[in-house]
């Protein structure tokens, strides 16, 4: 409970600041915003959410189904390769597509050179638009849906599928009538994660000139110099997130499918044109979401090869990796703690605080940064005052000026990712399993070690990796909270791109993607391995003395 409250603290700061202002009756900024820009923020945010929801579900569910339940050329590679777009920060993908498709980019220049047309003589999709933002975010975020839905497909009971097949369902029919409805909770969970990330996104929408709630928060803070007004907007965003989470919760409550899967269903063997169609369906999101942007980054990096020989460049990579690793471990440990707390003591207040603590994912990093900075700076001030009066010693800013602040912010921001993954894993361990284990003579710690841990291992690993990759890519909070002379790959890439030096942003961005690939590949391997592990570990052995 205390942990959840602590992690919810930055969000409370936001809510409190907004509430205070509402009560004090100073609505001048807010009413101005309502009259001018907020309707557009709401409209654009909704379009973005709807577009990304459709995009990630189409891409994620179709690829998950194909790679799990069908066999076609390349299927084995796609299983893990479809996770690769996770390593791409959305804003980096946005930079690369802008570089390729903008009117002054190579493609359009070539069209003009070839045809002799000028600007306006031909139609070309404008990449810097809300449609472009939907495309980029969908391409980068669909692996969340893919990952979680695929796990659900894998666990779907063989019996159900085989019953369907014996009743004469074609692959297509069994997808629509059995697999899809059964996987609905997983789809919704994956989509919710993608949508929360969409709401929090700043880099992509700002670069594309799409005004959303998040860009509005920045504009109100920076432009109007009104941090309070910005926090009010953030509080509105919080309300939207609560709604999103309620929808997710509701959809899960209505559908609780506990299935025991003993072995995987026989996959459908696709042949001929159908097989190639399946290959194309998987190759397309992979190419657009990873291969093309990565090639563009590689091209820029070759232009700037000297950078790779500079020692401080490798320091950036080390910093990024270290932060990602530490933050992932801390976040997942806390998520386990909270998930178990919720499982053992499912009282209302505990459930509520745990859910509240998990909302940070949809809050823009910069807002969380403010929510972390204010209490930590106050804590430091208190500590320094005590240390000075008792020991005549000034310890400096132990929390707000060090990595502690940054790690705290990451934990708040990404707790939801690990909490959802771990909770999903824990939900599969039915209470009856605990009971069976106890009947077999296991003590509670043994139950944890011998039953829970093996079953949770995949979820834990997945959570660590998802958080790690997210931390690698995180930018706004890192920018505000980091200590002196401490840079990460994301910070460097952003500074270069923000200066419109896209080519100079290439090496750090490519490095970030490459570093991000390590955990993603680990994740893919764990995922493949778990298919076999599930079979073995579902059997409870007798007690070994």
């Amino acid at each position: 409970m205390a942990t959840a409250v602590l992690l919810g603290l930055p969000l409370f700061v936001v809510a409190y600041a907004a509430l205070q202002l509402l009560l004090s009756g100073d609505h001048s900024t807010l009413s101005h915003l309502w009259q001018t820009v907020v309707p557009e923020y709401i409209r654009n945010s909704l379009i973005l959410l709807a577009g990304v929801a459709i995009g990630v579900m189409t891409l994620g569910v179709s690829t998950a189904w194909l790679t799990t339940c069908c066999r076609f050329p390349g299927q084995r590679y796609f299983q893990w390769a479809l996770l690769l777009p996770l390593a791409m920060p959305a804003y980096i993908t946005a930079y690369t597509y802008t570089g390729m498709l903008d009117f002054s980019g190579p493609l359009q220049s070539a069209i003009r050179d070839f045809t002799g047309w000028g600007y306006g003589d031909y139609w070309f999709p404008q990449i810097r638009s809300i449609a472009g933002a939907v495309m980029v975010l969908s391409l980068v975020l669909f692996p969340y849906v893919y990952l979680i839905t695929r796990a659900a497909f894998l666990q779907q009971s063989t019996a159900t599928m085989e019953a369907g097949r014996s009743l004469g369902l074609t692959p297509w029919q069994s997808f629509w009538r059995l697999a899809l409805p059964l996987a609905r909770p997983a789809m919704v969970t994956g989509t919710t994660l993608a949508l929360m990330e969409t709401l929090a996104d700043y880099g992509t929408v700002q670069y594309f000139g799409v005004t959303t709630f998040t860009t509005g928060i920045f504009r109100t803070w920076y432009g109007l110099g009104d941090l309070q007004g910005a926090l009010q907007l953030a509080a509105m965003l919080l309300v939207a997130v609560i709604a999103l989470i309620m929808i997710e919760r509701w959809s899960r409550q209505n559908a609780r499918y506990e299935q025991s899967s003993q072995r995987q269903a026989q996959p459908f063997q696709l042949t001929g044109s159908k097989a190639w169609l399946a290959t194309a369906a998987c190759a397309l999101p992979l190419t657009l979401g990873f291969i093309l942007p990565a090639l563009q980054l590689a091209a820029w990096s070759l232009d700037r090869w000297q950078v790779w020989t500079q020692p401080d460049f490798w320091g950036l990579a080390f910093n990024s990796l270290m932060l990602a690793f530490i933050a992932a471990i801390i976040t997942v440990l806390l998520a386990l703690w909270l998930a178990y707390g919720k499982r053992q003591f499912p009282t209302r207040p505990i459930r509520a605080t745990v859910s509240f603590a998990g909302m940070g994912y949809a809050i823009p990093g910069i807002v969380i940064a403010v929510g972390v900075m204010l209490p930590l700076a106050a804590l430091d001030a208190g500590l320094i005052a005590v240390a000075k009066s008792w020991f005549n010693w000034n310890p400096g800013l132990l929390f707000s000026g060090t990595l502690v602040a940054l790690l705290f912010a990451y934990t708040v921001r990404f707790l939801s990712v690990s909490l959802q993954t771990v909770s999903a894993g824990l939900a599969q361990i039915r209470p009856s399993m605990d009971e069976s284990a106890q009947i077999l003579g296991y003590q509670p710690p043994q139950v944890l070690r011998k039953v829970h841990f093996p079953l949770l291992r995949t979820s834990i690993l997945t959570a660590i990796i998802l958080v790690g990759v997210d931390v690698l890519k995180e930018l706004p909070a890192t920018l505000v909270l980091r200590p002196f002379d401490f840079n990460t790959l994301a910070v460097r890439a952003y500074e270069m791109a923000g200066d419109e030096r896209l080519a100079d942003a290439g090496p750090p961005a490519l490095m970030m993607v490459m570093v991000g690939l390590i955990p993603v590949i680990l994740l893919s391997r764990a995922m493949l391995a778990s298919q076999h592990v599930v079979l073995k570990e579902h059997e409870l052995g007798p007690v070994t003395p």
């Binding site: 101005h32 915003l33 001018t36 820009v37 903008d102 009117f103 002054s104 220049s109 003009r112 000028g118 600007y119 306006g120 810097r128 700002q206 594309f208 000139g209 860009t215 920045f218 803070w221 920076y222 432009g223 109007l224 110099g225 009104d226 270290m322 690793f325 530490i326 471990i329 440990l333 940064a369 403010v370 900075m373 700076a377 106050a378 430091d380 001030a381 320094i384 400096g396 800013l397 132990l398 000026g401 060090t402 990595l403 502690v404 790690l407 920018l479 505000v480 980091r482 200590p483 002196f484 002379d485 401490f486 840079n487 460097r492 500074e495 270069m496 923000g498 200066d499 419109e500 080519a503």
Partner: protein, 340 residues
């Protein structure tokens, strides 16, 4: 699992303590100017004086919020921003004290001092109009008012009003023209836009070069970067545009400053003073012109060849504090005018 935990705790504590260690002579700088654009000069300073500069870059407002939250415990000695608006806001928030260096005060013309000399400009950045000489006769242009003129319907390129440079330009116009006229101007400008206001200044120049529009607004140093680029396409784009210096017969071309202030709770005030004096020295000022294509703030410092090439011009002499004072009004006005 336990191994992981122990390892991470060890790494965490190591990180905390190494980052908290203090070198003998240091000065701590919060900078809204990006690392690549200031580090070379700071390294020079360290070489000359032996004083180590510890740098934290970030957005101006975010750094200011951090400065305020840290209060008297802040490690920052100096706060550097790239626009007058943030400097003004910092001064209002009470995080600055007077630098107390007569040398520095003297080097900077008085319109580039903050109220009560709480901050000083370091370099000047001009925001003129660019045009395509093959399609536009410069005689058709006179000043910023042209941007809202019907004649340029569907032919103006400018970036989003999220950008501080556009906010400062609008703030300056509010001071010169009054709010009503400026709002009318902003509406006219929005009507004239050739494309949605996306991308940065460099993108506007490229759009102009590629025929998307006939006139554009951008800061001059972006053209400098493009002219010196090792990408042939960028150099070619730069060669297709020309600078028009607006409002030479009245207020002058809009300029903004990058500037610096000494924090109220600076622990290394002497070192900070030396750093500011260094940044205002003729050599450093020349470096700004050569490397960053910005205009030196110190009088009597030679402009680089490139700056001379673009031509001399009359700068708007509006005291910088107005840019800060009018910033929020400018943003509200642009919100109303539908300038995204």
């Amino acid at each position: 699992m336990m191994k992981f935990v122990t390892l991470s705790i060890a790494a965490l504590s190591a990180a905390i303590f190494t980052l908290n260690s203090f070198a003998a002579e240091t000065v701590n700088l919060y900078s809204a100017r990006k690392e690549a654009l200031i580090k070379p000069m700071l390294d020079d300073f360290t070489k000359q004086t032996g004083i180590e500069v510890r740098l934290l870059t970030g957005g101006g407002d975010a750094l200011l919020t951090r400065l305020q939250a840290e209060g008297e415990n802040t490690p920052a000695d100096l706060f550097l921003t790239v626009d007058a608006g943030n400097l003004h806001r910092a001064a209002q928030a009470g995080v600055f004290q007077e630098l107390g260096s007569p040398l520095a005060l003297q080097a900077v013309p008085s319109q580039y001092h903050g109220d009560g000399n709480l901050w000083l400009g370091l370099s000047l950045r001009a925001r003129p109009i660019f045009y395509a000489p093959d399609r536009v006769n410069p005689e058709q242009l006179s000043g910023y008012a042209d941007l809202a003129d019907n004649r340029w319907d569907n032919n103006v390129c400018i970036r989003s009003s999220d950008n501080i440079y556009n906010q400062s330009l609008t703030a300056a116009l509010i001071q010169h023209w009054g709010e009503e006229k400026t709002e009318e101007w902003a509406r006219g400008l929005v009507d004239n836009l050739a494309k949605p206001p996306v991308g940065g200044d460099r993108d506007q120049i490229k759009a102009l070069a590629n025929g998307v529009c006939d006139i554009a607004v951008a800061n001059t140093y972006y053209l400098g970067v493009m002219e010196a680029s090792d990408d042939a396409a960028e150099r070619e784009a730069a060669s297709k545009v020309k600078i028009f210096w607006p409002n030479q017969d009245d207020q002058g071309t809009h300029v903004n400053v990058s500037g610096i202030g000494l924090t109220k709770h600076a622990k290394n005030a002497d070192n900070a003073r030396r750093l500011v004096e260094f940044l205002l020295s003729p050599e450093a000022q020349q470096w700004y012109a050569e490397a960053n294509n910005e205009y030196p703030i110190r009088r009597g410092v030679d402009w680089s060849d490139r700056l001379m090439n673009w031509g001399e011009f009359k700068m708007d002499s509006l005291p910088m504090r107005h840019l800060g004072e009018n910033n929020a009004d400018a943003v509200r006005l642009m919100n109303r005018a539908g300038w995204r």
